[in-house]
C-alpha cells in the first residue's frame, strides 16, 4: 500500500504543480538597475551629437540610446514597422536616439496596462496615459511615473514647456505640486459618447431630422426591428466596465445636468450641475429618472432591441454596423467622423448620423486636457532623451507626419492644409498606426480629406454653443480615504448590466434592490467623503 501511495504522491505532485502556477506571482520591482534599454546602436553616434537643433546644443547626446514607448492598441499589421525604421533614422539624426514600441493590446487592456506600470524595470520611458480612461493619477500616486521638474521640461522639451505653460495647463498635471505628465492639451477632440445610426433608415422610420433623443432612438429601433429582419437594432456585446453598461451613462447625461467626475475608477459619482461642483448627485439613489431608465430598458429588451443573451455575447458591433447587421454603434464623436462615417459613406445611399448623449438637456462637457498625456517611466534610464523625442513628436513636422499620417509619398497636403491620399493608397495595408494619443497638436495637424468633416462641423457648431469646460481638472480623489469603492464597484457591476439590458421581470423592484445594495456597500459614506474632498478644492 505504501508503495502505491508514494507513487500516487508523485503523480499528485505533478498534478498539483499545475495548480500551483496560479499562485502568487507578485515580485519586487525595486530598482534593479536594468540597463536593457540602453542598447548601443552605434551608427552615426559620432556626428549626431552636434546635429540637434540650436536649442539643445549644450545637451550631451553622444551616446545612442533606445527609448521605449508604451502605447495602447493591437499590434499593427500595416506599414508601421517600416515607418518606425524611418522614424528612427530621423530621431537618430536629430537627437541620436531611437524608439521601440511596446503595445498593450485591447484584450484586457486595463489590467495589462496597470500591470505594465507596476512591473517596470527601467524598460519603459515614454508612457501614454490619461486621467479619465487610463489610471494616470493612481499610477502617479503609486510611483509609476517619474516626477518632472520644470528645469527638465524647459531643458529637454522647451517647445512643449512653453506651449503648455502659456495655456496654464501644467496645473492639470500636478499631484502635490509636482508635474507627473505632459498633457495633450492643444489637440481639439470631442470624445463625448453617443449613438451612430443610419440616417437613411432614420428617414424611412419617419425621423426626417434624424435621431436626437432616446424617444427618437426607440422609434428608430422599432423600425429596424420591423423592417430589417437580419439586423439586430443594437447588437452589442454587453460586457460591463467601470460600473456602466448599455445606455446607463448616456441616459444619465440626457435626463439630468449631472457631470461625471473622473478618477474614482467607477463612474457612479457625478456632480449635481456645473453650478454646484461640491454636491454629488443622488440620481442612482433617488428620483424617477433612473427608475424610468430601468423601465424603458426592460421594454426595449422585451421588444428585442438586443440579443436575448446580450450579456454573454462577444461580437464586434462596429463590423456588424458596417455590414448592416447592427442598427447602431455606440462610441464618441472622434470615432464617428474619423472612422465610422467615412467607412459607411463608401456604401451608396448610406449616411450616418450621431445622437450625442446629453443632447436633450444640453449636458455636454469638453474633453479634459489630460484625456491623452505622456508620462516618463519612474525607472527610465533615459528620461532626458525621452523628453527630447517627445518634443519632436509634438513639434517637428517631419516626425509628426510619419507618426500620424505615414510615408510622405502616400499623401499630399495642399495650401489649405488639406491632406489628400494617393489614388492607390490603401490604409489597411499602407497606413501606419502609432496610436500617438499623447501629444497631437492642432498646429501640426493636416485636415484629412477622408474624414466626414461636414457632419462633424455641424455637430461642433452645436457643441460649441452648449459645452462647458471639464470643471474637475484639478480634482484628484484620495481613494485611500474611501474604503467603500471596491464593494461599490462590485455592486454597480452586478446590478447595472441587469438594469441596463432589462434582464428582470420587475425593473422597479430591481432598482430598489440596487439602491439598497449601494447603501449597504457604503455609497452614502462614499458620497459624503467625496463631497468633503471636493469642498477642499471647490468649496
Amino acid at each position: 500500500m505504501k508503495k502505491k501511495i508514494l507513487a500516487l504522491l508523485l503523480a499528485g505532485l505533478m498534478a498539483f504543480s499545475a495548480a500551483a502556477c496560479g499562485g502568487d506571482t507578485t515580485s519586487s520591482t525595486g530598482g534593479s538597475g536594468d540597463t536593457a534599454s540602453t542598447a548601443d546602436g552605434g551608427d552615426g553616434a559620432g556626428d549626431a551629437g552636434d546635429a540637434g537643433d540650436a536649442g539643445n546644443a549644450a545637451i550631451d547626446t553622444s551616446e545612442h540610446v533606445v527609448v521605449n514607448y508604451l502605447t495602447l492598441g493591437d499590434i499593427p499589421t500595416n506599414q508601421t514597422d517600416a515607418a518606425v525604421v524611418e522614424l528612427n533614422k530621423m530621431l537618430t539624426e536629430k537627437v541620436n536616439a531611437e524608439i521601440a514600441i511596446r503595445w498593450i493590446e485591447w484584450t484586457d487592456w486595463a489590467t495589462q496596462y496597470n500591470l505594465a506600470m507596476a512591473s517596470q524595470s527601467g524598460d519603459l520611458d515614454l508612457i501614454v496615459t490619461a486621467t479619465d480612461w487610463l489610471d494616470a493619477w493612481p499610477n502617479a500616486q503609486k510611483g509609476a511615473f517619474l516626477p518632472l521638474t520644470e528645469e527638465m521640461l524647459q531643458t529637454y522639451a522647451p517647445k512643449t514647456w512653453e506651449q503648455v505653460d502659456a495655456l496654464g495647463h501644467w496645473e492639470d498635471c500636478k499631484l502635490d505640486d509636482t508635474i507627473y505628465f505632459i498633457p495633450e492639451d492643444t489637440y481639439t477632440q470631442w470624445i463625448n459618447h453617443g449613438v451612430m445610426y443610419r440616417e437613411d433608415w432614420a428617414t424611412e422610420a419617419g425621423l426626417a431630422d434624424g435621431v436626437h433623443s432616446f424617444e427618437d432612438l426607440a422609434v428608430y429601433f422599432q423600425w429596424v426591428k420591423d423592417n430589417q429582419p437580419d439586423c439586430v437594432p443594437w447588437d452589442v456585446a454587453g460586457s460591463v466596465t467601470s460600473g456602466e453598461a448599455g445606455f446607463s451613462g448616456g441616459w444619465w447625461s440626457s435626463y439630468t445636468d449631472d457631470i461625471n467626475i473622473d478618477g474614482f475608477g467607477i463612474n457612479i459619482f457625478r456632480a449635481e450641475s456645473a453650478d454646484d461642483l461640491t454636491t454629488i448627485s443622488r440620481y442612482l439613489l433617488e428620483g424617477d429618472e433612473f427608475v424610468n431608465f430601468a423601465k424603458t430598458m426592460k421594454e426595449w429588451s422585451d421588444a428585442g432591441y438586443w440579443r436575448e443573451d446580450v450579456m454573454n455575447y462577444k461580437g464586434d458591433t462596429r463590423e456588424e454596423f458596417y455590414s448592416g447587421l447592427s442598427g447602431i454603434d455606440q462610441h464618441h464623436t472622434e470615432t464617428y467622423y474619423t472612422t465610422v462615417a467615412p467607412e459607411m459613406q463608401k456604401r451608396t445611399g448610406v449616411d450616418v448620423g450621431f445622437f450625442f448623449f446629453g443632447e436633450e438637456t444640453d449636458n455636454l462637457v469638453r474633453t479634459v486636457t489630460t484625456h491623452g498625456a505622456m508620462a516618463i517611466g519612474a525607472q527610465s534610464q533615459n528620461p532626458e532623451r525621452a523628453l527630447m523625442i517627445y518634443d519632436l513628436m509634438r513639434f517637428d513636422q517631419e516626425v509628426y507626419d510619419i507618426m500620424n499620417y505615414g510615408f510622405s509619398d502616400n499623401f499630399t497636403v495642399d495650401e489649405n492644409n488639406i491632406l489628400t491620399w494617393a489614388d492607390d493608397y490603401d490604409s489597411a495595408t499602407e497606413g501606419v498606426t502609432f496610436n500617438f494619443w499623447a501629444g497631437r497638436n492642432d498646429e501640426m495637424q493636416h485636415k484629412n480629406s477622408t474624414f466626414a468633416w461636414e457632419p462633424y462641423e455641424a455637430l461642433v457648431e452645436v457643441y460649441d454653443q452648449v459645452a462647458i469646460e471639464y470643471p474637475f481638472g484639478k480634482f484628484i480623489p484620495d481613494k485611500t480615504q474611501m474604503p467603500w469603492l471596491e464593494n461599490l464597484s462590485a455592486v454597480a457591476n452586478t446590478y447595472m448590466p441587469q438594469i441596463a439590458f432589462g434582464k428582470t421581470d420587475d425593473p422597479e423592484a430591481l432598482v430598489a434592490e440596487f439602491r439598497q445594495a449601494l447603501k449597504d456597500a457604503g455609497y452614502e459614506e462614499a458620497i459624503a467623503e467625496a463631497e468633503r474632498q471636493l469642498a477642499e478644492i471647490y468649496g
Binding site: L8, E308, D309, A490
Partner: protein, 317 residues
Amino acid sequence: MKASRAAYDYRPSQHGFLYRLNQNKVLLLMCVPAILFFLFFSYVPMPGAYVAFTNFNYNGGIFGSPFVGLQNFEFLFTSGQLAQLLRNTVLYNLAFIILGNILQMFIAILLNEVMCKKFVKVTQSLMFLPYFISAVLVGLLVYNMINADYGFLTNLVKSMGGEMPKLYSDPNTFPIVIVIAKLWQSTGYGTVVYFAAICGIDASMMEAAKVDGANGFQRIRYITLPCLKGTVIILFLFAIGGIVKGDFGLFYNLVGTNSVLYSTTDIIETYVYRCMMNTFNFSQGSAVGLFQSVFGFALVMVANYVVKKLDPDYSLF
C-alpha cells in the same frame, strides 16, 4: 533496483542521515526537479505574501511600502457577500471533486476492462484533449451551443419541436452548465491517475478471483474498488486544500459579466475581480489569495488529522 528497494524500507534506520541520503541518492535525484519547482515557485515567493498587509507602491516595492495591518482584508468581510461566495465556491468544488472522481474512476475501470490496447490509447488521448483547451474557447463553445438566439442546441431542440430553457437568464440551472463544462475538461486528465492506479493492482489477486469464479462485476466490486480507496482518499486530501479557490478562467469565461447569474455562479475569484477591475489594488487581491490559502491549509490539516485517526495508512503525513 537495489536503491529503490532500500527506499521502501521503513524500518527505523540504524544508520545516520548521511548514510540514508547516500543510499537513496537515485530516488532523491529524481525528486530534484519537483523540489526545485516548489522551492522557486512556492517557497521563495512566499515572503511576498507580505504585500497583503501593505499599501503597495511601486517605488517602495513589497517590503518598502507602508504597513497597513489587516486593512486590505476588510472589504471582503464587510461586503456582506462572503457567505454566498464561500457557499458557491465550496459547493462547486465539492461537485467537481465528487462527481469528477466518480466519473474518472468509472471511466478508468471501463478502460481497464477494454481488451483492445489501441482503443484504450486513442480514447485516453481524445479524452485528454479538452484539458488543453483554454477557458476562453470553452466559454465561446458553450455560448455557441446554448445561447437563446441561435445556439446549436437551442436550434436542435427547436427543430424537434421542443423548447430550450434560456440558460443564460436562469441562475438555477446554469450551475449545471458549469459543472458539465468542468467535467468535460478535467475527466480525461483525472482518468489517467486512476487508470495508473488500477494498472498497479497486483494481477495475481485478479487471477485468484477469476479462479474462484468471480465474474467481471464482482472483481470490480471486491478487488478494483477497494484497491482504489487509498487513491481516492489521497486525491481528496489534495483537492480539499483548494476548496475555497475557484477556477477563475472557467467561471469568468462562462459567466462573464452576466450578473443575472451571479447569485449562483459568483465565486470568490470573480467577485474579487469585479471589485478590483476598477481600482487595481494588488494588496487587496493578495489579501484574498492569502485568506484562501490559509483557509485551505487549515482544511487540509484537519482532514488529514481525521483520516489519520480513522486509518493512519491513508493519511498524507
